[in-house]
């Protein structure tokens, strides 16, 4: 009986390694099939940009080798994936998944995206998960939700792109349906734009000094591309402007955008300047109803949220520990059930055989007396089995059932029962 997790994450492997391990949804069933063929009763593959983890139920000895072989193949160049990997067993594996789901193991502490990724992994692997992992992932999602509702671990925006969203959300009633203009083609702006799009913001225009690059990003975001010099007029319509050009000086100046801002009729404009050096002249913030934030401002918001989240780590870990014990009690009980069933059946067969032998020797007994004797033998058996059954169940729920189970199996010659 065991649950094992084998994998790599952002702590053990650099990005260029992690991205080789990442599995597309269509690859998941095949990868699991291959690992399960090495001998395991269930498996779930959790693959995100920050981690690739195989959760396995009852893996046999050959399974870790199969996992590392599969990952090493993806790594290529004759390198071994083991050097980037880790493995955890039993309670530690359960704790690991619960911490992952709660965001305690994330690169950005408490981030909520992982909750959805755990759910997707479970749904994609449902056919191969088996009952134990099914229950484990179901409970992991509940643990994640509990941690987020009972602690402040998920509150605030703990990264610069999510801080950009948080700031915009403090200006506009709804972000859904707002229009955004992107200036420049920096990675940070693209990331922040993705965050905004996930909140329902429509990126309508992408402007860049190099038109081709603008067009490439615009196509990804279903927006229109235009040269940077044509962007200023659009400050009159956009609700959010994301700036991330590689210009060595401010490109968004008062003179360029003030006429367009004046035509907004008092509607607020949120400008998020993610470029270093800054793209937007500080004087632009003086324009009425213009809210300008640079990367330092957003990082200040993120740092505040991260500090608040760190304060809640002990509370979150406490919830995780509580839930690990709850799961383990269920799991322990699950393993005991078939062994106890077989133990009871074995004893009952002995009782029935002995009773039949006695009854053959006492043919003069009336049907009532025979019934009485049958009842007596049942009661005696129940009395004998009561205490061991209770003790075994309690020990299993407390996580101390293995020794007793093994002893029971050996003493009474029971068949091997390693799991549900």
């Amino acid at each position: 009986m065991s649950i094992t997790v084998l994998g790599v994450n952002h702590r053990t492997a650099p990005l260029e390694v992690r991205e080789r391990f990442a599995h597309a949804p269509r690859e998941v069933p095949l990868a699991l099939e291959r690992v399960l063929a090495a001998g395991a009763r269930g498996g779930v593959l959790l693959s995100t940009c920050n981690r690739t983890e195989f959760y396995l139920a009852e893996p046999e000895e050959a399974v870790p080798e199969a996992v590392w072989a599969l990952l090493s193949e993806r790594l290529g160049g004759g390198r071994s994936a083991v050097e980037y990997g880790y493995s955890q067993r039993d309670r530690d594996a359960v704790r690991h998944l619960y911490r992952v789901s709660a965001g305690l193991d994330s690169m950005i502490l408490g981030e909520s995206q992982i909750q959805g990724q755990v759910r997707e992994a479970w749904e994609m692997s449902k056919a191969q998960a088996g009952p134990v992992l099914h229950r484990l992932f179901q409970s992991a999602l509940l643990v994640g939700a509990r941690v987020r509702s009972e602690t402040g671990l998920g509150t605030g925006a703990a990264s610069a792109p999510s801080a950009a969203v948080a700031v915009a959300a403090k200006i506009f009633t709804e972000l859904a349906g707002r229009s955004a203009l992107i200036l420049g083609a920096g990675d940070m702006a693209e990331l922040a734009a993705t965050c905004l799009v996930s909140e329902g913001v429509r990126v309508t225009l992408v402007a860049n000094r190099t038109y081709e690059r603008a067009r490439a990003i615009a196509e990804e975001l279903h927006a229109r591309a235009l040269p940077l010099d044509e962007a200023w007029d659009h400050f009159a319509d956009a609700d959010i402007v994301l700036c991330s050009t590689a210009a060595p000086h401010a490109v968004v100046t008062w003179d360029r955008v003030a006429p367009a801002v004046a035509r907004r009729g008092g509607r607020p404009l949120c400008i998020l300047d993610l470029a270093v050096p800054r793209d937007v002249e500080p004087a632009v913030a003086q324009l009425e109803n213009v809210f300008l934030y640079d990367i330092d401002d957003l990082q200040a918001v993120a740092a505040q949220a991260a500090a608040g989240r760190r304060r809640d780590i002990p509370a979150a870990e406490h919830i995780v520990s509580e839930e690990v014990e709850r799961f383990w009690a269920w799991y322990g009980g699950l393993v005991v059930v078939p062994v106890l069933k077989e133990f009871r059946e074995r004893m009952d067969r002995v009782r029935a055989a002995e009773l039949e032998r006695v009854l053959r020797r006492l043919p003069h007994l009336s049907p009532d007396d025979r019934g009485e004797l049958e009842h007596f033998s049942q009661a005696l058996l129940n009395k004998f089995l009561h205490q061991p059954t209770i003790a075994l169940k309690e020990a299993a729920q407390a996580g101390r059932g293995y020794g007793l189970l093994e002893a029971l199996k050996r003493l009474f010659g029971l068949e091997r029962h390693d799991g549900p």
């Binding site: 009633t173 509607r267 607020p268």
Partner: protein, 263 residues
């Protein structure tokens, strides 16, 4: 039986206010259901008390009615706009108004004949509801300016985290002002009708100052609706108009005490 429901309402409003203030003091926020439940329980008790105060003659009954409308509007606002921070103002204000009413004494003053009929009760109720709406517009405008300053100066403190978005506060201000102005107007017209129907004259100073206040309020609504002011300018206009209402009331109270008015 007027006192007990008011005392219960006072306690529940104070509790609801504490629940709204708690997150600003760094405490874990209570759920919306709990905060709303406490406020609604307070409203229930308050309704029982207020029903016995008709025809609302005198300062104390009117203050109690005003407190009731403020909390009712807060609950509506919470449901429609989710601007809980408005409770930072409406909560203490309503609690204070009930406390003041209790201190003054809730027994209705002796009403002149025309002030006893249903039209008078309607006049007072509509006028107080209009006042409560204007007060809500004022509160939304004040919160808007606080959040505006927080966002412009990039402080990212409790106000930034716990206040609603700027646009929502602007919408709340707009709606409260646009609904409050005609409500107050209707209340005033009903008041004139009640007075003239009862054969009582209206003090000239009251008419002049009242008209002036109405014009200031009309201006604040006009710039929003006709000239499409929004944001900070509209917030200032809303605050100015409500300040005008308060100043005129205080001026009339000081210069012409005892004149027949419900407040």
């Amino acid at each position: 039986m007027v006192l007990v429901p008011h005392l219960i309402a006072l306690g529940l409003y104070a509790l609801a206010t504490a629940l709204v203030v708690a997150p600003f003091a760094g405490l874990r926020p209570a759920s919306r259901a709990v905060t709303l439940g406490v406020a609604l329980a307070g409203i229930g008790a308050h309704l029982v008390g207020v029903a016995q105060l008709a025809p609302f003659r005198g300062v104390a009954p009117t203050l109690s009615l005003l407190a009731l409308f403020l909390v009712l509007l807060q609950v509506v606002n919470e449901a429609a706009f989710r601007a809980s921070a408005v409770g930072l103002f409406t909560g203490p204000l309503a609690t204070g108004l009930i406390g003041l009413a209790l201190l003054i004494g809730l027994a209705p003053e002796v009403a002149f004949p025309s002030a006893r009929g249903p039209w008078s009760v309607l006049h007072i109720t509509v006028s107080v509801l209009g006042l409560a709406m204007l007060a809500l517009a004022f509160i939304a405008a004040a919160l808007y300016l606080l959040q505006f300053r927080e966002l412009k100066t990039k402080r990212f403190g409790q106000v930034f985290r716990l206040f609603p978005p700027l646009e929502r506060l602007d919408q709340l201000n707009h709606l409260s002002l646009v609904l409050g102005f005609p409500t107050v107007t209707l209340g005033v017209l009903l008041g004139f009708g009640v007075r003239y129907a009862g054969g009582a004259s209206v003090d000239a100073a009251q008419v002049v100052w009242g008209m002036l206040t109405w014009l200031v309020l009309g201006w604040a609504v006009g710039v929003r609706v006709v000239r499409h002011w929004a944001g900070r300018r509209a917030a200032f206009a809303s605050i100015a108009s409500f300040a005008a209402v308060l100043l005129v009331y205080l001026a009339l109270k000081l210069t012409a005490p005892g004149t027949q008015r419900f407040l």
